[in-house]
Symmetry: C2
Subunit: 341 residues, 2 copies
Amino acid sequence: MPTKLLKQADGAGGKAMQEFLESVLVPAFSKRRIDNGLGIDDFDDGASFSIGDFDIVVSTDGHTVQPPFFPGGNIGTLAAAGTINDVAMMGAKPIAMTDAIIVEEGFPVEQLKLILESINEVAEKCDVAIIAGDTKIMPKNSLDKIVVATTGIGVVKRGNLITDHGAKPGDVVIISGPIGDHGTVLLAHREGLEFDTDLKSDVKPLWPMINKILPIGGIHVMKDPTRGGFAAAINEIATKSKVEIELYESEIPIREPVRALSDILGLDPLMITSEGIAVIIVNKDQSEEILKTLKQTPEGKDAKVIGHVKEGVPGRVVMLTSIGGKRLVQMPYGELIPRVC
Amino acid sequence: MPTKLLKQADGAGGKAMQEFLESVLVPAFSKRRIDNGLGIDDFDDGASFSIGDFDIVVSTDGHTVQPPFFPGGNIGTLAAAGTINDVAMMGAKPIAMTDAIIVEEGFPVEQLKLILESINEVAEKCDVAIIAGDTKIMPKNSLDKIVVATTGIGVVKRGNLITDHGAKPGDVVIISGPIGDHGTVLLAHREGLEFDTDLKSDVKPLWPMINKILPIGGIHVMKDPTRGGFAAAINEIATKSKVEIELYESEIPIREPVRALSDILGLDPLMITSEGIAVIIVNKDQSEEILKTLKQTPEGKDAKVIGHVKEGVPGRVVMLTSIGGKRLVQMPYGELIPRVC
């Protein structure tokens, strides 16, 4: 029997990774949750457990983005924002973060300082404390520059946790901003493709925005479409919530350069990673107030209603196209762009 | 001005790393603790914050050990035990763990499974749940096989936290087992040096042992001597506790092969990494019961009293040698063996 070797797609956020997680990773662990909290096999943005009157939310991510500096941010911005966003997506106030930084010997100290400053800048915006860390230096040529693993910790009043499986028929689907900026910028930057534009990665912490809409209530799902892009996020939500989701193609915000590059390279912008937007699925009654509030924040100023939830076929995501047709939005198989986050 | 580049020693647990952390890492972060908890600049085994009547302990570590499989364990054993031990050293019951695994494309899936099983085995021994994780695959040649970053979370009744700065004059210094096994085995294995012995890494979770002695009370400090070895750990304790520590050379347990290899290579066994022992500094009144209890556990069966704490010169560690002399035990500059944990 040939030895099975890990392939890129196994860690890329799509169908291949789901299969890998379900067949290899999760079954290896016997205790995967604490009491009734969310655990590793919920595949949500984070896990949770209860202490007294609070739910503690924990999220972890390894970041391998290449190159470590890109238009709009760097691996530090990405690691800090990514982790804070995962905690915020669960309706929890991020309070603390830890980082494990692994760097190649010979990496310039000044560049590391810039990365640390970016981690700090993101943390400061959300009043998150960086309470613990670890730094390891690997010998030259045993690591391509730097990887950063961050763990975020948040707190939410017991019972107020928001998951990615709470969408209900009748709900409204909101997106907080244009999709695909981060992946597109990385790809263009790496391939040396120049745009006549100032397109930057959308990487940013979403807690200040989320913090504004939580008090309104009626939020059933939040998810940031990172690996596998919007297509992966919306399919996960539909499958886990056991609902059908209908999307309005003409309403989905995609910037012109993202559309142009996708066209040239034959990519589907729905499958390109974003790092600073959220899919927010809300009760119809609160949807107008939530949209209005989002639009008043710098992070959510381009927020739009892009679809609705219905009973339909559980797990199905349908795009109502601009020309009046319908097509299925598929779960991507893998990430089209490696080392994007 | 020449560009300053990161060197191995900057991440190696000794004086160079202390300087690096103090000059580069810590100043980059503005909020480094939550309220009165332990923060990143305490450089303890972990950080802490309070929720209701509990202190939550958080510890994080990146693991880069090379090779990933070694006599006595693998990178999974090491990552899980290392994180659980850091939490346990603070007197907290480890309850949850997260892992961020970054693997080189082409790594055999079977080997990854063995690593995951080892993580699970350690977690099971301590009833720790693996609640969240992340897996990234890096393209071939951009990472030497695999790194694993783990974060551990523990809980302790408020006020019962144990730090590495609580040693008091009159206290007794206990070590729970022989020192230097892990680093020696790795070095020997890597260099192809064969021993006529079954020396293995001492890597193991210490919570079952710690759990037995905590109820006795009187424990002022616990620390596992990993990077920088026993010498780094004991110096940190003396400096942070502002006390002098006197050690009895003849009582410090070192296995014969560790001594032999150190002699051959000119290494000081006091500076070689251990991954399954603890320095425990206790009130004299409880020291006999603690020692007796330790000796009844499989992890602590070779425990010994190896010194005492006095007022003396704060931060000084003195070895009372077998021939009746005295010498200073220095803080190592860096780790002598790269990628040991």
